[in-house]
């Protein structure tokens, strides 16, 4: 052992070799640094949270089209790396002369929850743990009190006698409480009436979740899990691109579809035609017809003053 050899030669010149004390000291320092590095091991997980480009990215509304193009390329690359599917990511802006309004026919809804799952499939929500934008409340006849509603019903057959079903999702308020409380302006109302979130700007403080009277906002407590074969490759920046852990998300009226002229996914799948969507500024649209002629029963919790763009109505 070199250590004992050195000890046995106390008269070794000081510059020739190392003495016991400095050897121990440097060994201790080395061991200490190694241990320090090893004790920081949990930080290695950080690289999943953000990339440098994303960290240095500008605010959505301040980005030039060229910068936006770069961001879309980065997202494409990240999604392809993670899921092995090359997505088609776009940044769809609101159309001129369009304001979206949603109406839901409570007479028709049968509570089959197909909209819930069509929404999850379209908008790339986490499957496990589960994030769903739509909650279907089973409500006893004769009451509009949502506190009497139950969204965990597990009946074998729907609709159940003596109940009606009331799906609730983001109401796209004209006076949104969630936007007002956001400390970093990561969420705002676009001119077509859709309140959107920039997932790269959100700091995950969850103020908006607390402010929303409809429980429409969802938080990614863990890393979202989406099987690659269920990923929807048609994406938009403010819409359904995959989210990260620690950001909010919510219904955005499927902007990757609706800003392209299509109906939202929840409407497409509704087997009874209870869901109606359209441009309220177009007097010929079915939504304008419904607003003019139907018995619009409620804007949910209208006493909150949020003025939702989501209306519930009855046929008869």
């Amino acid at each position: 052992m070199p250590l004992t050899d050195e000890k046995s030669k106390p008269d070794t010149p000081p510059g020739g070799s190392i003495d016991r004390r400095s050897f121990l000291r440097s060994t201790a320092a080395f061991a200490g640094l190694t241990a320090l590095a090893a004790s920081l091991a949990p930080l290695r997980g950080l690289k999943d949270y953000t990339s440098t480009e994303q960290f240095l990215q500008k605010y959505y509304k301040e980005m030039t089209p060229e910068e936006m193009e770069k961001v879309l390329q980065r997202i494409t690359k990240e999604v392809e790396h993670q899921y092995g599917i090359r997505p088609h990511v776009r940044d769809l802006r609101p159309m001129n002369g369009v304001e979206f309004v949603y109406a839901l026919n409570l007479t028709r809804c049968i509570g089959c929850r197909k909209c819930v799952h069509a929404c999850v499939a379209e908008n790339n929500q986490s499957r496990s743990p589960e994030i769903q934008y739509i909650r279907v409340l089973k409500m006893p006849h004769g009451s509009m009190d949502v506190e009497k509603g139950n969204h965990l019903y597990d009946d074998k057959e729907v609709p159940d006698k003596g109940f009606f079903y009331m799906p609730i999702q983001c109401q796209q308020c004209k006076n949104p409480a969630c936007v007002k409380v956001c400390p970093v302006n990561a969420t705002w109302q676009d001119k077509d009436g859709v309140t959107v979130i920039d997932y790269d700007w959100c700091i995950g403080c969850r103020y908006c979740e607390a402010a929303c009277p409809y429980w429409a906002r969802r938080f990614n407590f863990t890393k979202p899990q989406i099987p690659a074969d269920r990923l929807n490759p048609e994406m938009s920046y403010l819409g359904n691109r995959p989210r990260k852990q620690g950001v909010m998300e919510k219904c955005h009226f499927c902007i990757q579809r609706t800003r392209d002229g299509k109906y939202p996914a929840c409407l497409e799948v509704c087997p009874v035609g209870a869901r109606k969507f359209g441009n309220i500024l177009d007097p010929e649209s079915e939504i304008s017809y419904i607003m003019r002629t139907k018995r619009i029963f409620i804007q949910l919790k209208e006493e909150m003053g949020t003025n939702p763009r989501f209306f519930y109505y009855f046929d008869k």
């Binding site: 049968i110 057959e157 392209d260």
Partner: protein
């Protein structure tokens, strides 16, 4: 004697050494804990099963005659005069409670149009003088493909809503300048012989992040 100046530094040197060794011990301990996963993995979350793809299906559950013509499907079921005689319209038979007896050849037809069996006469809609058409109360004769107009001849308000897009399903594009909107017909969703939408199995409900202790609403909905 050479050691004397060094030994005079001992208290300060010792302090540093103790501090450093204490830190080293802390770091080694932490490193061992992280690498050896001393606290164990976070408790495994319950994996939620993927939803059956059938619940994501957008196509309507029924096909109309017009759909079958479009898809060039086998229409031999609609060849009435393969069995019936043109000159003799099939007679309707009723049981003691004046409920229509559905003949054996048509036993797949469930009679359920209107409550209390008030609308159980085949020739309210089918045309006895030409079984391959419908007859409307105002005397018009309609082809099978135009069944929606037949429904509209009685269900006025719903037909009006359907024309405006407020009743029934429209798929495709809300903005018809950008693409086609496909308006479904009555018979895509309603069985004309039993138009009430049948009950169905709902898609699975939400799973909480933590397993909920009982359903707080159970007592309320059970009433």
């Amino acid at each position: 004697m050479e050691q004397a100046p060094e030994s005079s530094k001992v208290p300060g040197f010792r302090k540093t050494t103790y501090c450093l060794s204490a830190l080293v011990v802390v770091f080694v301990g932490l490193a061992a804990a992280f690498l050896g996963n001393l606290w164990g993995h976070p408790p495994a979350r319950q994996q939620i099963a993927l939803v059956d793809k059938g619940f994501l299906e957008k196509t309507p559950w029924r096909k109309t005659y017009a759909d079958m013509v479009r898809a060039k499907e086998d229409l031999s079921d609609f060849d009435c005069y393969g069995c019936h005689d043109k000159k003799h319209p099939p007679p309707l038979r009723f049981d003691g409670n004046s409920i229509l007896i559905v003949p054996e050849e048509h036993k797949d037809i469930v009679m359920g149009h209107g409550s209390h069996n008030r609308n159980n006469l085949c020739y309210n809609c089918h045309n006895e003088s030409n079984l391959e058409t419908f007859q409307v109360r105002d005397g018009r004769e309609l082809k099978f493909a135009d069944s929606t107009q037949l429904c509209g001849s009685c269900h006025g308000p719903n037909y009006r809503d359907w024309e405006a897009g407020a009743h029934g399903r429209i798929n495709g594009y809300w903005n018809t300048k950008l693409g086609e909107a496909r308006k479904l017909d009555c018979a895509n969703c309603h069985n004309p012989h039993a138009p009430r939408i049948p009950t169905r199995m709902p898609a699975p409900g939400p799973h909480a992040l933590r397993t909920p202790v009982g359903n707080p609403h159970q007592a309320e909905t059970a009433k």
